[in-house]
């Protein structure tokens, strides 16, 4: 294992880990949620993390975004070793370089949609004019301009998640971390949010997403399958060889 000041796993990767371990101690008994994870996310990649409940998916994402400290191992973000950073240093780093989306949106209920989206830019030092311009672009791009002056609670789940996406993209982060962003949405809202994420990815956004939604595997470049806190598989998604029509692959094998 390298000491601090060693080389990142791959200098070209936006995110990399080596020997990452996360141990919880509920009631003093250690529980290893993450048990030695080595992964890399390249510039512009869309990577999905999938796996059963309790496999450590969300814990991994939270540790990678600095929401919880790692117990052991290295985390490299944009070529910088970050696993030892304080909570406040993480907050500064996230503001500039990491966007977050959550299953339950986590919008600020006392602020309007527009203010929710402008806040990250203002915190990062943008002028109010710059922040407003960026907000207007994002809301237009995501089709929610008409909701700008409403309270988030008046929006549907799908609309709230679009606001959360706009907020996450406000500072043009190097990395978008998304924790089950469609987990609380009906199927057509989920499809809309996935389309928008896919569009952001096509435009160059690097995305790391924890999800149960297998549709994501059809949009991502790579899927990491987590099992018992370890990586069971890490593979590029390659289109299946087309026989006749793809639907037949699924329907005709039945019965």
């Amino acid at each position: 294992m390298l000491t601090p000041g060693g080389r990142p796993p791959n200098p070209g990767a936006i995110l990399g880990t080596r020997g990452l371990v996360k141990v919880y101690r509920p009631g003093g008994v250690p529980v290893e949620a993450i048990r030695g994870v080595d992964l890399e996310v390249g510039v512009g990649e869309f990577v999905a993390i999938m796996g059963p409940s309790g496999s450590g998916k969300s814990t991994l994402l939270h540790v990678l975004g600095g929401l919880e400290p790692a117990t052991r191992g290295e985390i490299w973000l944009r070529g910088q070793r970050v696993d030892g950073l304080s909570a406040s240093a993480w907050a500064v780093l996230r503001r500039k370089h990491v966007g977050f989306m959550f299953q339950f949106f986590n919008l600020l209920s006392t602020m309007t949609v527009a203010d929710n989206v402008e806040l990250p830019a203002l915190l990062a030092g943008a002028t109010s004019r710059q922040a407003r311009k960026r907000r207007e672009e994002l809301l237009a791009e995501l089709g929610i301009t008409a909701k700008a002056n409403m309270a988030p609670s008046r929006l549907s789940g799908g609309e709230q998640q679009r606001v959360a996406l706009a907020r996450a993209l406000a500072n043009e982060p190097s990395l978008l971390l998304a924790d089950e962003p469609t987990g609380n949405l009906d199927s057509s809202s989920a499809r809309d949010v996935l389309r928008l994420l896919h569009r952001a990815h096509i435009a160059g956004q690097t995305i790391l997403m924890v999800t149960h939604d297998a549709k994501v595997a059809g949009l991502a470049d790579r899927v990491i399958s987590l099992f018992d806190g370890m990586i069971a598989d890490d593979a590029k998604v390659v289109p299946a060889p087309r026989k006749k029509a793809p639907v037949r692959d699924v329907f005709e094998l039945r019965g």
Binding site: V223, A232, A240, V247, D249, V250, F251
Partner: protein, 168 residues
């Protein structure tokens, strides 16, 4: 395909090529429609069984076309097909047979089998998502067909995950 053609003919008499077009327009590119030869063979058998009858219709400057229509017996068979529930989900899955039997004989590792099968399912999902992205102008039937395939695939992936939890 017999009943599908009977159902189309219950709406109005048609010739073979019209039936092929109707299937394609309704179900879209996701469903590989039968070729024209299969349709003619099926129509011929339906006629032998007394479920349809046909007559040649003369066309200006083109060969006659054979137009098919439903007989009362055909209508009865169709009515029976409509009310009959179709089989439920599979109880035997070829991959599951491999997963259980191959490791018992030392032929494979379960985790590797599951990973390889999962990669294949992900690849099919990619194909389906690409297809879905180009379906804004498709019929509801064509879109629902792809959505059904996506949902089945999601269930297959969930099941793989359960197999992994219990067997690996």
């Amino acid at each position: 395909m017999r009943q599908h053609l009977l159902a189309l003919l219950a709406k109005e008499p048609a010739h073979g090529y019209e039936l092929k077009l109707a299937l394609e327009q309704t179900f879209g590119q996701a469903y590989s429609s039968p070729n024209i030869g299969q349709i003619y063979v099926t129509l011929k058998r339906l006629e032998q069984d007394g479920l349809v009858r046909s007559q040649d219709v003369a066309q200006d400057s083109r060969p006659n076309k054979r137009v098919y229509e439903l007989t009362p017996a055909g209508r009865e068979e169709l009515a029976a097909w409509v009310v009959e529930p179709i089989e439920g989900p599979r109880v035997r899955d070829e991959f599951f047979m491999k997963l259980v039997l191959a490791p018992m004989a030392g032929l494979a590792d379960r985790m590797e089998l599951i990973n390889a099968q999962r990669r294949h399912y992900f690849g099919i999902m990619r194909n389906l998502m690409e297809m879905q992205a180009g379906m804004d102008n498709a019929t509801p039937a064509a879109r629902l067909l792809v959505e059904g395939a996506v949902l089945h695939l999601q269930a297959d992936l969930d099941w793989l995950e359960r197999c992994q939890e219990e067997m690996c």
